[in-house]
Amino acid sequence: MNDNRRTFLKTLGLSSGAMILNPFEGTAIPAEKFLNQPAKGLDIYTRRIIQTDIAVIGGGMSGICAALAAARNGAKVVLIQNRSRLGGNASSEIRMHISGSSALRQVWRETGILEEIMLDDAVLNPQNAYPMFDFVMYDKVISEPNITLLLDTALFDAKANGRKVEQIVAFCSPTEEIYEIKAKHFADCTGDGTLAALVGAEYMRGREAESKWNESLAFPEADEKGMGNSLLFMADKFDKPMPFKAPEWARKFQFEDFRHRGVSSFEYGYWWIELGGEYDTISDGHKLHRELLAILFGVWDYIKNSGNHPESENWALTWVGMIQGKRESRRIVGDYIMTQRDVQIPQEYADGVAYGGWSLDDHPPAGMDDTSLKPARQVPLKGPYPIPLRSLYSKDFDNLWMAGRNISVSHVALSSTRVMATCATLGQAVGVAMQHAVARNLTGRGIVNSPKDMQQVRQTLLRQDQSILYVVNQDEADLARKASVTASDQDTGFEASNVIDGVNRDIQDGKSHQWRARVEGGKEPWIQLKWNTPVSINQIEFTFDTGLHRYLRISGQAVVMKNQIRGRQPETVSDFKIEGLLNGKVVYSDFVMNNYYRKYVHKFEVTKVDSVRITVTKTNGDAHARIFEIRCYNERT
């Protein structure tokens, strides 16, 4: 009995702080449940009531990052996901690669929690197996004690009172449980904006007219169309001919259908197997799924059996998606609606909390219903653009936030903000902001209207490796900023003082913002921070170089994987000695091995030092030790 109870409480995350208000429901299965007459109707379901700080609805990239960010900053979080695995469009169920600002071909790969997950995946999953990527994400979430993860749990109802969302109701079919989750703040990371719709928050659908926001990429008249859903597949090459017989219901395609849609590689499906822009991408989902399967098998039938691709003879399908990836559905209206110009011309918002960098990439609604049209038009961007916090909470509710494709953007702006790397950073932004709101009893609007709170949120995000354009480290608690910095060696343009210049990455301003020294041939360069008067510290934080100019995302597509480095990124410092000194004597020392993260946080007992010395002994392959930033804190425990 006790074992059962413990197991159950763990499942519900009671140990992580979520509170079950009906403890009797939370005990182990009472014997009478089996012995007595079974309940009928809805009573057969067990009703669980959970109270928590933050409920995140949706376990895609946005939801994962929102939950992790809020939980790591101290909030109790319940994360519900309607599938049995995390990752949404990026999961092994859909397998879309996580696109973002790397498309600018500059230095703008996203950082923060997403980077941490991507680095883990590159190192722990060098075999590039999608199911293992699922577990990289699962491990991140399940290892965070402040998160209660409820998989296979779907939102179906919500209650609001005035400007406050009070609770959501969710259902877990395999366990026959109904959850009533009451929270101080809610994050709608459903993609479809389901929670916002349930509580009656204003949202947008379809495409706005050109005149509405003066968007050249919009159409003269507003309509109810949009971008469609895509269904992917994977295929492998075998050492013998692999015949394929299409199901009777597969669509038929011929050569002309591929004039604007290349089929030159077979290993990973095609994003342009797309349909739904002229349907309701939510309520027509069943029909769309069936049609997309008919298209997918029709395309493969063409490849295998048209006679036009004899090179496909030994290729066979090894995985076919059973859930389509969605690009567009509801967009919830926030205090600010981003439009085409916000994406094209970077605006320096006081509440910028993330950035995007994917091109304006709209798709014609007809998708595969009209193959005479090109499947997309991409308008490139000059550079990354900030995304304001005002687009990440509902204007109608004080405690309803959103991250993902359902944020407050026009259809045109969505064509850029919708990609998953951007969505992940929006999740982190919302996670930090929600926790700040919980801790100080604030609303999203309250944070934005308070420069001090906005500054705190942005500084927390920056410290936790979220990149925010135009924001530098101004954290008063960071003692490193008051130190003087020297080093045993430094390359020209990569001076030691760069580690406290406030910028922790290449921002293409002509400066490196990085200390760099050769580490080859027995050389073990060191960098030292020195204070005029001793300081007490218990935490040193590092930002290393992980080659943000490269792409780093799991993908089924060979060309996407081609220039990636799977495994540890060579630029990153691997092994290093940390020494705290007082009056020339070492009062603290430790040696760190096998690091591959960009952000590394080292914690220890509070120690009084007048200098800190970092000696790099090994990188993950590069000839130089590279450090972007060092921060020192005396954190209250």
Partner: protein, 357 residues
């Protein structure tokens, strides 16, 4: 006042127009042919009148459109004005530009255009989906730089490569101004003019002497009753290298029985076509009834077919089995016997059909 109806006044009027045009074109330094027709005049947003002419070829058929342009380029008229002849094809697509000797296009600070710059500019002007369509000029150039530096018409160093690749560095005003003149309203008017003046002769010219865009344009407008008329052009296009045009042409061919014996060359040359065209040829002969002569031609090429193509052609034999004469049946049987132990189900099925005839 001249009476426009009198022959003298008509001659005088024409003479004046020619003199004015000649003077104008002489000033601009471009050749002008008497037969070229002024089609319309367009006023740019810089208040410059652009006179669009239609150039005709030696057969008096429309060849291309052009204008001689003299316009300021930069904001606040900082740069030299540009003097250039712009040419459109018959569909309103950018065709080319001609520079005036001594007044060649330059970048900001008068650096000459290199060959690569011309190549890039022509690529940009040809791209109807260029990003220039959706950016304001003031958002493209780096106005944070000093006005008289070489950077006024440039991009910041931090501009993404994907973006910078779509522009000629140091000549963004030129790219922007020319792109909007070429791909704006003028292009639509040119297309409308061509459409309104299509003739059979022009269609033939566009099919055989034009770009893929011309071929697509005309092929999309051939009516079923015109298919026989354009038969020579369709056959010619099938033999050319663009498989999309070849297949579109095949789809337009009328009943093969009406095209004998020319149509047989599609079978005789079967293995010379690329795979998608071969598939389309089989589909074409499957769509219509085949007579004995056509079936005989297919027997001759059986040995060159892939397995998939073979199945398609067997389908043609089965569908038209009543047209198989003794010689053809004998030829088919001989072919099947040569396959001997490699006979598959499709071969056996055909053998059965032949034996039952």
């Amino acid at each position: 006042m001249l009476n426009v109806k009198s022959p003298v006044s008509r001659i005088l009027s024409l003479a004046i127009r020619v003199i004015v045009l000649l003077l104008w074109s002489t000033t601009m330094g471009f050749p002008f042919h008497q037969n070229d027709q002024h089609i319309f005049t367009y006023r740019t947003d810089r208040e410059v009148d652009v006179r669009i002419f239609l150039a005709v070829d030696k057969d008096e058929l429309p060849d291309h459109y052009y204008c001689d342009l003299f316009t300021p380029i930069c904001l606040e008229d900082l740069c030299n004005p540009i003097e250039i002849r712009l040419e459109w094809d018959l569909l309103g697509n950018f065709r080319n530009y001609q520079e005036v000797k001594g007044k060649e296009i330059t970048k900001f600070d008068h650096e000459p255009f290199e060959e690569d710059d011309h190549k890039k500019l022509k690529e940009i002007l040809s791209d109807k989906e260029s990003l220039l369509q959706d950016y304001h000029i003031e958002d493209l150039v780096d106005t944070t730089q000093k006005v008289y530096s070489a950077e006024i018409d440039g991009l910041t160093a931090a501009t993404s490569k994907t973006f910078a690749d779509k522009l000629v560095p140091g000549a963004i005003y030129t790219c922007y101004t020319l792109w909007h003149i070429i791909n704006g309203e003028i292009a639509d008017k040119i297309l409308a003019h061509t459409q309104a003046n299509m003739s059979e002769a022009l269609k033939r010219k566009m099919l055989l002497r034009g770009s893929v865009a011309y071929q697509d344009f005309v092929l999309d407008r051939i009516l079923p009753e015109e298919r026989k008329t354009f038969q020579p052009e369709l056959f010619e296009l099938i033999d050319r290298e663009n498989p999309f045009i070849a297949i579109k042409s095949i789809r337009h061919l009328p009943d093969p029985n009406k095209l004998e014996p020319d149509v047989w060359k599609l079978i005789r040359n079967f293995d010379k076509y690329v795979l998608p065209v071969r598939s389309a040829i089989i589909q074409y002969f499957t769509r219509y009834p085949c007579n004995t002569s056509a079936l005989k031609e297919w027997v001759q090429v059986l040995g060159t077919l892939s397995e998939q193509q073979k199945v398609g052609v067997y389908g043609i034999f089965e569908k038209n089995k009543s047209q198989l004469d003794k010689t053809t049946i004998a030829g088919l049987k001989a072919y099947l016997e040569r396959r001997n132990d490699k006979l598959d189900g499709h071969d056996r099925k055909l053998m059965l059909i032949l034996n039952n005839l």
